[in-house]
């Protein structure tokens, strides 16, 4: 029977504080800052990548030698990326395909299209 010594999980606490800080910075960028829109979006995306890395390395046992020598769950990460790709690409596909032409058409064209819808 092993008795682990009671110690404070430093890595987890640092990770927790960092992830909170990143979230606050992202919220500030969107709500409180006067940065241009493009910068806000880019900034949030960069913060998101850092956030993901913190989750993976601080909490998800990515480099923990105790669980089989720095075991990286490639399989699960692959599935995760596939799902993210489906969610993002799928949403763009469904939400924009077939709708776009409404906005740029000439008024006459739109009229025609409108009548067509009511047939």
């Amino acid at each position: 029977m092993e008795h682990k010594t009671k110690r404070i999980p430093v890595k987890h606490i640092i990770g927790f504080i960092l992830s909170l800080a990143l979230t606050i910075v992202a919220a500030w960028a969107a709500l409180g800052s006067d940065l241009p829109k493009g910068w806000v979006i880019t900034g949030i995306m960069v913060l998101a990548v850092i956030q993901a890395a913190i989750q993976l390395f601080m909490f998800m046992h990515m480099t923990e030698s105790a669980s089989g020598n720095g075991h990286i769950p490639w399989n699960m990460m692959f599935h995760g990326f596939v799902i993210v790709a489906i969610v993002v690409a799928g949403s763009l596909f469904t939400m924009s395909y077939g709708f776009g032409h409404h906005h740029n058409d000439s008024p006459a064209h739109q009229q025609q299209h409108g009548e067509h819808m009511h047939d």
């Binding site: 008795h3 999980p9 489906i86 969610v87 949403s91 469904t94 395909y97 077939g98 709708f99």
Partner: protein, 647 residues
């Protein structure tokens, strides 16, 4: 806020509900006090981390929710029985179809199946508990308080009324002001924490804690279907979590993700909802397939036919389930190309599902079928589900769907797959594993009565709805026209048949508790898989010693070799997790926070959230190492439960 804004007023049926709630609550408090059972309740149930007890609590709650959702259904069917009846007002009717759908999917079907998984999966794979027993308790309490939050809405604040799909912009702050819709959002969010945690917990359990020798392709089919369900939960539920959070921010803090104004995208809600919602359908039907496979193999007294085809078809169904979501809103008008893509992917799902149907038929072929109640549920599932599946393919054709969309044809279709699939499986599974859970069988005669009433009631209720749908009756209307009278009336009769069937099922639980013969062996049905190798009642640690597994039907092999899970030579002390009240307390605090947020009392909600965080910090520094069963204790327990001490 005035009291009459807090409580729902003016509906006699709801006043009746309030009286019933007060009476039942007082009765429970009185009984617990009178029999001095408060300590017992806390020690044995509220703080337990034992997967078997948590499973029983899941199933009890799910049965209560089935009653609630069923009452909603009967009220709807009464309202629709006769043209222009005014049994319910339009508002009340809207609320009831919303809560019926939400309760049945989120708070009945899922918890029922997760409850069965809780009890059965660790036993089937030879594990002593879940990988994370504390998290398992946390999951249950999050579901329980989520369900509680959603259910109090009908007496406090008013129920949500925008359908179980809660489509924006209708469900947004502009068109649905008040707390109703917030109850939906927070109730689902709170319960969703538990579902996601269970998905992770159970997946780790199945991947890491199998008995020696049990390779992935030697696992029982129910365990396989649970594992794949966990995958779907882990990948689909975050989408719901995000969608619910965005809509909550929209409604409470005035953002514009799904609004008509400010460049909001109302249809994005439908898109996100069904990205979760379609996989959700498979979350509730794949475990059902697993249950039927176990029941059919046991009562056909044959090994399941085409084991690897069965497993691969489950995996393929799970993969495809993420690629078909648009078929729920073909009529949104995304265009012919988008609709065609999703039409094809939808029809593809019929292929692996068809494979499974033939696997079950193959198992039954030339077998000696034992017509027990559980087997009757499984046998009647096959043709009933095929009707639902075939009409599903009809709906999957985008062009034809423009005719069927939002009609009773659709309502009939999804009740055919969800009831014949999931609900039949819940009844089959509960009947089948009942002796393992409670040490006695359910009475077979009463079981068959409830089965036949429910089955006939089900077909009488929903088969006519296909035809009313083709006659043009749309869903979610509260007055029917005279031309739809006959079939609607028939449908209502069927619904009450199902209600009586369910009542007999519940009575059977009481009757069997009083009169059924107690089980002396753990193997009530001549089972094939490891759960039947444990003695009944199952000891807290499940397996005194673990068998070496070389076969899909692990227990059949053990019986041939004369092995048991009590090999005195191999006994070692068993490490067990301690009970904990923290999951209950943490989720009670989060319930309070969510309730405050529903009424948009931001300060109170923030205090509640802080309380939740404090509980997490306390848990983080919790160094409880659990306790041990000594070899002598194990010997005593095993000898008494296996009837060896009388020799």
């Amino acid at each position: 806020m005035k009291l009459d804004e807090f409580f729902v007023t003016g509906e006699p049926l709801i006043y009746g509900g309030m009286v019933a709630i007060v009476l039942v609550t007082s009765a429970i408090i009185f009984l617990l006090t009178y029999f001095k059972k408060w300590k017992w309740l806390w020690r044995e149930w509220l703080t337990t981390v034992d997967h078997k007890k948590i499973g029983i609590m899941y199933i009890l709650s799910a049965l209560a929710m089935l009653f609630r959702g069923g009452m909603d259904a009967l009220m709807m069917r009464t309202q629709l029985a006769v043209p222009d009846l005014n049994f319910l007002s339009a508002q009340h009717y809207d609320e009831i179809f919303t809560t019926h759908g939400t309760v049945m999917i989120i708070f009945m079907a899922m918890p029922f199946l997760i409850g069965l998984m809780n009890i059965v999966v660790p036993l089937q794979i030879g594990a002593r508990d879940f990988a994370f027993p504390f998290v398992n308790a946390l999951s249950f309490w999050s579901f329980f308080f989520g369900a509680l939050l959603f259910n109090v809405s009908f007496v406090i604040g008013g129920s949500p009324d925008a359908g179980w799909t809660s489509y924006t912009p209708l469900s947004g702050a502009a068109l649905s002001p008040g707390p109703g819709q917030n109850f939906y959002l927070m109730g689902l969010q709170l319960a969703g924490i538990g579902t996601l945690a269970t998905g992770i917990n159970l997946m780790v359990t199945i991947l890491k804690m199998r008995a020696p020798g049990m390779k992935m392709f030697k696992m029982p089919i129910f365990t396989w279907s649970s594992l794949i369900t966990c995958f779907i939960i882990i990948f689909a539920f975050p989408i719901l979590t995000v969608a619910l959070a965005l809509l909550t921010i929209d409604r409470i803090f005035g953002s514009q993700f799904f609004t008509l104004t400010g460049e909001g995208l109302p249809m994005m809600w439908a898109n996100l909802f069904w990205m979760w919602g379609h996989p959700e359908v498979y979350i509730v039907v794949l475990p059902a397939f697993g249950i039927f496979s176990e029941v059919i193999a046991t009562f056909a007294h044959k090994r399941i036919f085409g084991y690897s085809a069965m497993v691969w078809s489950i995996i393929i169904i799970a993969g495809l389930s993420f690629l078909v979501w648009v078929h729920h809103f073909f009529t949104m008008g995304a265009g012919a190309f988008v609709n065609s893509v999703f039409s094809v992917s939808t029809m593809l799902i019929a292929v692996p599902t068809g494979v499974k149907i033939f696997n079950w038929l193959g198992t039954l072929h030339k077998s000696k079928i034992e017509f027990s109640t559980a087997m009757l549920w499984a046998l009647s599932f096959i043709p009933s589900f095929v009707i639902g599946g075939v009409t599903g393919v009809m709906l999957g054709m985008a062009a034809a769907d423009y005719q069927f969309h939002n009609s009773y044809f659709l309502v009939a279709h999804f009740h055919y797959v969800l009831i014949a699939g999931t609900v039949f499986a819940c009844f089959a599974g509960l009947t089948y594993w009942y002796p393992k859970m409670f040490g006695h069988k359910l009475n077979e005669r009463l079981g068959k009565w409830s089965f036949w009433l429910f089955l006939i009631g089900f077909h009488v209720c929903f088969l006519p709805q296909y035809f009313i749908g083709l006659d043009g009756m749309p869903r979610r209307i509260f007055h029917i026209g005279p031309e739809w009278f006959t079939l609607n009336f028939l449908s209502t009769i069927g619904a009450f048949g199902m209600g009586i069937g369910f009542a007999i099922f519940v009575y059977n639980i009481y009757y069997s508790f009083r009169y059924s013969k107690r089980e002396t062996t753990g193997d009530a049905w001549g089972g094939r898989t490891l759960e039947w190798a444990t003695p009944t009642p199952v000891p807290p640690y499940n397996f005194a010693t673990l068998p070496e597994v070389n076969n899909i039907d692990a227990f059949m092999e053990m019986k041939e070799k004369g092995e048991t899970t009590f090999d005195e030579k191999k006994l070692q002390p068993i490490h067990m997790p301690s009970n904990s009240g923290k999951p209950f307390i943490m989720m009670a605090i989060l319930f309070f926070a969510s309730f405050a947020l529903v009424f948009e009392w931001i300060t109170l909600a923030a205090i509640g959230l802080a309380g939740g965080l404090i509980m997490m910090i306390i848990r983080s520094f919790d160094y409880d190492e659990g306790y041990h069963f000594s070899v002598n204790e194990i010997k005593q327990i095993e000898q008494s439960r296996r009837g060896l001490d009388h020799e």
